[in-house]
Each structure stands twice: as structure tokens, then as C-alpha cells.
Symmetry: D2
Subunit: 244 residues, 4 copies
Amino acid sequence: MSNPLRVTVWNEYRHERNPNHSASHVYPEGMHAPIANSLREAGMEVRVATLDEYDHGLTEEVLANTDVLTWWGHAAHHEVADHIVDRVQARVLEGMGLVCLHSAHYSKIFKRLMGTTCNLKWREAGERERIWVVDRAHPITSGLPEHFVLEHEEMYGETFDIPPPDHLVLISWFAGGEVFRSGCCYNRGAGKVFYFRPGHETYPTYYDGNVLKVIANGVRWAAPHHGPAPVFDNQAPLEPLPAH
Amino acid sequence: MSNPLRVTVWNEYRHERNPNHSASHVYPEGMHAPIANSLREAGMEVRVATLDEYDHGLTEEVLANTDVLTWWGHAAHHEVADHIVDRVQARVLEGMGLVCLHSAHYSKIFKRLMGTTCNLKWREAGERERIWVVDRAHPITSGLPEHFVLEHEEMYGETFDIPPPDHLVLISWFAGGEVFRSGCCYNRGAGKVFYFRPGHETYPTYYDGNVLKVIANGVRWAAPHHGPAPVFDNQAPLEPLPAH
Amino acid sequence: MSNPLRVTVWNEYRHERNPNHSASHVYPEGMHAPIANSLREAGMEVRVATLDEYDHGLTEEVLANTDVLTWWGHAAHHEVADHIVDRVQARVLEGMGLVCLHSAHYSKIFKRLMGTTCNLKWREAGERERIWVVDRAHPITSGLPEHFVLEHEEMYGETFDIPPPDHLVLISWFAGGEVFRSGCCYNRGAGKVFYFRPGHETYPTYYDGNVLKVIANGVRWAAPHHGPAPVFDNQAPLEPLPAH
Amino acid sequence: MSNPLRVTVWNEYRHERNPNHSASHVYPEGMHAPIANSLREAGMEVRVATLDEYDHGLTEEVLANTDVLTWWGHAAHHEVADHIVDRVQARVLEGMGLVCLHSAHYSKIFKRLMGTTCNLKWREAGERERIWVVDRAHPITSGLPEHFVLEHEEMYGETFDIPPPDHLVLISWFAGGEVFRSGCCYNRGAGKVFYFRPGHETYPTYYDGNVLKVIANGVRWAAPHHGPAPVFDNQAPLEPLPAH
């Protein structure tokens, strides 16, 4: 029997602590709480880390013991220290999975791993979003319906300035007329990165059963697979070379 | 705890039954035997099916109870009945995994799913093959070294006339000067297809630990994930349409 | 200076010849007419071929002198002879480009090249379609706006049962709530295949400037590039092999 | 008739100016010279820029007038100023093509656009390299043979720590036993990036006709296509939203 996946749920955790922000009413225990609870119920070993902790809660020791890191950030991307971004990037390339949620599209770590601006269109109008599966062979779609609805969400629209995903799994339809690549998979180094769109802080998105299912599936997909550790730099030949 | 994967190991099983063919000495119980044994040891539920059985051993009932089908064929591709190919293709698109081994590149089912000729260069000279991992984030590389060696194999060389793989996992080097895309992943319908190169019938390739590991990993990767069952054809609108 | 591209515009050409069908009013000279005219204006050398001609207008000689073939079919896919499908497939794999329009998703040639059912959802309600560019680096998007609108079109919705495109260029939004991968690129053999969604026979879609621009760009992208002609089958080694 | 492509050939240009370095004998006018000459003969408008010029020769004005930038660097990657890397990255995402040659795999700009370490195996043993075409539908293979030989080159071997290419076009075989993904295409923002492996400074690689053909094809492929300029940030709805 395999050990449980070790997941660290990272949250900026600022909006929810501001009593004047509606997020504090929607997520009184933080947006990380329903995500962490759901992953625990799925049998994973979950810890939470937040921006205002020492090293943003992402010490070398925490990352060394994390199989998959989920990330939600929004207003304070610039407060994430560059050396912590370096550390997370190195761990991803070494095999740790990364699941970037919603406004994490604009986090330093996602932009670093993508190499593009990761910019997009947005609108806060609480409109209807329909999320469609477009690759039903992909494990992230396990147990999902063909499409599901979020009655009120922030719109994110194309152009989404990301590299073409290695696998595109989900596409969103918005009532206001836009579409968006909402479930995007990338292999980077020994690690896997999944971007999943929904989750504005003023809507109860992270209590939605389908959203939580996608996150759990994304974490499982992004778990390390222990492929070979590469050897780099100068190498002796494996076959005899002719003298010259 | 999840149920064991149900695997059907399909083998043409002609060379090995011909006492004048060296395959009969290398694989006295058939090439399916070491593959099936290895998958059983990995905890899978394995049955064997061969060309000369009724329906080539691939009845509706067998396929309905198969999660992943592995396929080895060579000299008798043309003897596989078209209605069985239809049946296998339908099951793959419905979610059954398919792992095509070596000369199965030229099987009816692989060509059908690829849409190309699937032709290639070959040479039977028993030369050295080095198989290199090129996507270590992929689950098929789990537990593999960066590269492994088969001392004596048939050469397969590019141009390999296949669609660009959705993921390219392995590339072979041959002593005679060729390269080959040896581990190729495709999503097709709800199913996943993995092509894996080695396995000429006159060499003991299917006793090699790394080869068997790739096959087991490929079977696990190709297992169904139970994404949504699609609804096709005429649909009522989900949103009210303006009269016009 | 390079020679003009030689394009064959293939059309089923049945609906438009039926005076009781509204297509006969929208496209009195056939749906091929505005497409052919637009490609001629773009400097290409265009001929037209239709189902009811000898060999459906696709003789060996015509195909041998075609750089890119565009295809529109709908009600009579089953009347296209299999040996002509074989012939077109062989030419595509040999380098001829293929641009499949709208209901050609269900043509024999497209299904043959894809290996999947190519099924989808549809609705004839004359609803609004918004077509969004999602890969602005791709030549097919040259000169397009970020998105464009077709006021009245048939809906096509996901699940679209195709292989994951090598490049996904366009995604459609429909008023009724669906999305669709509307611009899909595939390399197959030496040939390139572009699927482009819009073009129901009862709407004036093929008079739309953006639609015609996508078709012209698609034809240019799909034009042969004269890569190497592959050599298949048995090969002598390029490097000396050790005796054994 | 279209205007000629405007290409800037960037070269670190240090080895060749050192009379004790063999590169000074192989490339007495700099490695940029044969590349620039070949692109000029192909009808392009070529300028040269080098590390030790003001702004490394890559002023805002130069980049604004460059369609495609080729890059060769090796020993002085760290001397390229970060603000120039920012500038080049911004121009690539805006549409300028980038062709990275050989040891440019480790340049700041390539690593920035890839998001990975871009590390690899290497060996300076002057061994034989065979470069195989694996996607003959791709324009970069135009006019190439199925494979070509460089008698003496530095080895680069997998693991090459890059994202899976959007298109993999070339794979190298090395006499010493390694393989390498030698022709890799990426779309990033509105720009296209091509990595091409050969070109160690002590071998006459950039006088080889096939190598020069690949570079010219790569430059043509990477040329801007003038897709839509994206609009980002807050957007009004395109469709009326229900009050709520």
C-alpha cells in the first residue's frame, strides 16, 4: 500500500482576514480551509502555509516533505520573496507537483515556470461560468460530468498569455461572451504543473463539489512519479570513439 | 482499496509455435508468457488472448472486462478480422487502454487509431539499442534509469510515420546510426494508447527488467480514468436564445 | 518568385442545387464559389471539384496537381467512394494540405486521418458564435482580430471527439452555452490538416471576411513544405556493427 | 511582394577574437559571419550584434526593427545584462522570432523563456553526429535529406531539461551513444522560438550546407505572423448579463 500524498495548500490569506472584505464572510477560516478539508477527505496528508508565516511557510524542510503544492495568491504576489520563488521552482523541477488556482496565474512562481506574461482579460460581474471537459481521457476529468456550472464567478477571458498547454483539459464559457483555457497541464523538469481557473475570493467556489474534485484530481495527477534523476555536464562516451 | 487492473495480453503467437523458428526457443511458452507473468507480479489481473482463438480471443465479453489491452503482432496482421479491429477501436475510444508493442506498429488497430502508414526503417542485425528517457515527469518513466541498454535488438529507425505523439517519453539510439521515437503516448477518445518499441521475437527482450517495467508503467498509465461519457448529436440550448 | 499555390475546393454541392433548400438562395452558385473566389483574390490558382463529377472530381491527375484541398460535405459523406478516400489520404500523407470545413468533421477522409469518431454536439438555432484566437503566434491568426462574431450559425459543441490538436488556434463561444475547439492543426505524414468549424449551408458564413481570411491562412499554412521523402523498410547499417 | 525579413544575428564573439583559441582559426571573421552571409544569400536583410557593443548591440531601436533574432553565446552568458534580457523577452512575446543556437541553450534569454534549467550532458570529443528529421511536415525540414552528418561535433545528450517542445523536428544520434532533441519549436506569446543544437566553436559546423538550411528555415518559420494584439485586464461584457 502506498503512503498518502503529502500536500501543502498555500494561501495568500489576506482578504479573508480583513473584516471589511466579503471574502471574510465567504471563507471565515480562509480559502485554504475547504481545499485542505477536501484533500484530507480524499485521504491525503495536508498542511497549510500562508504568506505571512516565516519564509511564507515554505521552508526547505516543508518543501522537501511536500509531494504537491497548491497555490492561491492575488493582491500580494509582489510580496513573495524571490528566493522563495527560486526554492519552489527548484523543487518543481526536481519533481514536486504544483497546482495553481485562479489568480495564481499572475504569481511569480507560475510566470517563472511559464516564461510568458500570463496576463488575461477579467471582469468582476458575478456571471455564470460553464466549464467543459475537452479531453475525457485525461485523469483530471475522472468522475466529472461533461460540463458543470458556477453560477457566479469572476470572468477570465482569452487571450491568456501562456505557452500552449501540453494537455488542455477544460475550457470555460462565460455569460458575457468570453472563453478561457481553464484546465492546463504542463510537464516541467521532473515536475508537473496544473493551472485551474475558478476561485474568486468573493464567491463560494471552493465549496463546489466539482471544483473540489478537479483540485483533488489535479493533485493526484501532479504527484511525483520518480522518473530518473538526470546527470548533467561532462560525460565519458558510452561507446568507443574512433581515434582522430 | 481499488480493484486490480484487468489486463488482456494479446499475442499473434505463431512464431513461437513453429519449432523451426528461433522464437520457439527464446519464448517456449509464447512471448505473452513473460509479459503476463510480470503484470501479474505487479498485482494485475491478467488474461491472454491469441490470434487463432475464436474472435482472436477478443469477444465482446472479454473486451468489456478489459481495462488495458497489450498487443504484439508481426507476420499475420492481415489475418486479424476487420470487425474485431472495429470492436477494439470502439472500446479504446470508450476508455480501454491499448499498449502496442514492437511490430504492432503495423497492426490494423494501431494504423486505424493513428491515421497514418506507421511505416519505418528496420534491420535485423542484433545490434545494441540504448533507450533514453526524454520526459522524466511522465509516469511511464517511474523507476527507470536515465537510459538502459538492450544488447541485441532489431533496429527500427526514423522516419516513423506516426502523428506527433501527445507525449514523447523515450528515444532509442542504435549502434548502426539510427534513432527512433520508442515511447509514444496518445489520447484517443476516452482511451489512451502507448506505443513501445522493443521486442523482436528472436531476442530475450521481454525478460529484461527495464522493458517489463516500461510495459507495467504503460499499462498503469493507459488504465481508464472514467472521465465523462459524452452526449452527441442534437442538443437543446443551455441558455435562453433570443428570438429572431 | 514562387509559383502560386494550387488549391482544389471540394464541395458536396447538393443542398445548393435543390431549389427547395434555403442553401440554394444563400449560395446560388454553390458554397464553393465564395471560397474559390476569395482564394483566387489571394493569388492562388483554384479549381473546383464536386461529389457528382467523375471520381468526385478527384482524379489521380487532379490530386497530383493540388497543393491544398479544401473539403465541405454534409448529407452525402457515405456516397464518397472508399477508393477516393484512400487516394486523398495517400496524397495528404505525401504532403498535400487538407482544410476541412464545418460538417466535414464527419467526412470519411477526416475520420480516417483522425482515427476517432469525430462526433460532436450540434443545434440548428441560428445563434450567435464568437470565435476567439488562443494562439496568436500561429500563422493562421495572421491579420485576425482577437475575436470575431458570426451572428447566426449552427452550434457545434464539445465533446468534439478528435485527437488533441497539435496546435489549437481558435475556440468558439455559443450563445446557447457551449464551447468548441474551432481551429485545429494536425501534422500527418508529410501533410498538414486544418479543421475550421463555421459554415452551415443556410447562413452566409462563407461571405464573412474573417472566415475567408482564416481559410486563406489555413490553406497557406497547410501548403507542402517539401521535407525529406522517407525511405522505409530494410536498411543497411550506417555505422560498422561489431561482429557477433 | 513582401519586404525582406529583417534578421539580427547575435554572437557573443569572444572565442574568435582570442588568437590562442582554435575558434579564431575556424571562424576568423566570427561565427556570425557565415550565418549572416547565408541568410543574406537567402534574401534576408541581416545585421550583426555582439556582446561587447553598447547594450550588446540590442538597443530598443534595433529590436524594434528585428523580425527574427538568432543567438549564439557560450562562456559569457552571465555578462548579458538582465535589462537586455527583459527587453528581448518582451520583444519575443510581442512577436519577434528567436533562434537559439547550440550553447545558447544556457543563455539567460532561453532559460527565461523556457522556465526550466535547460541543462544537458556534453562531451568535447569531436565525434560524429547524425541529425534525423522526425516531423517532415514541418517547414523547418524543407529541402533537407532524411538525415545528415556532421563528422566532428561536441556531443549534447539527454536529459535536456526543457519543456516538451510544441513541435519536435530533429533528433541527433551521437557516436558515443547519446541522443538529443536537436530541433525544438515553441510558441511563446506572439513569438516563436526555435532551438537548434549544432555549432561548437571549434568545428566548421556553420559552413555546412544542411546546417545553414535549417537555420534559414528556422528564421523563416519564426518570422512574425501578425496575429491579433491582445487586450488585457478589465473588460465590459460583450453580451448582456442578467441583473442579480
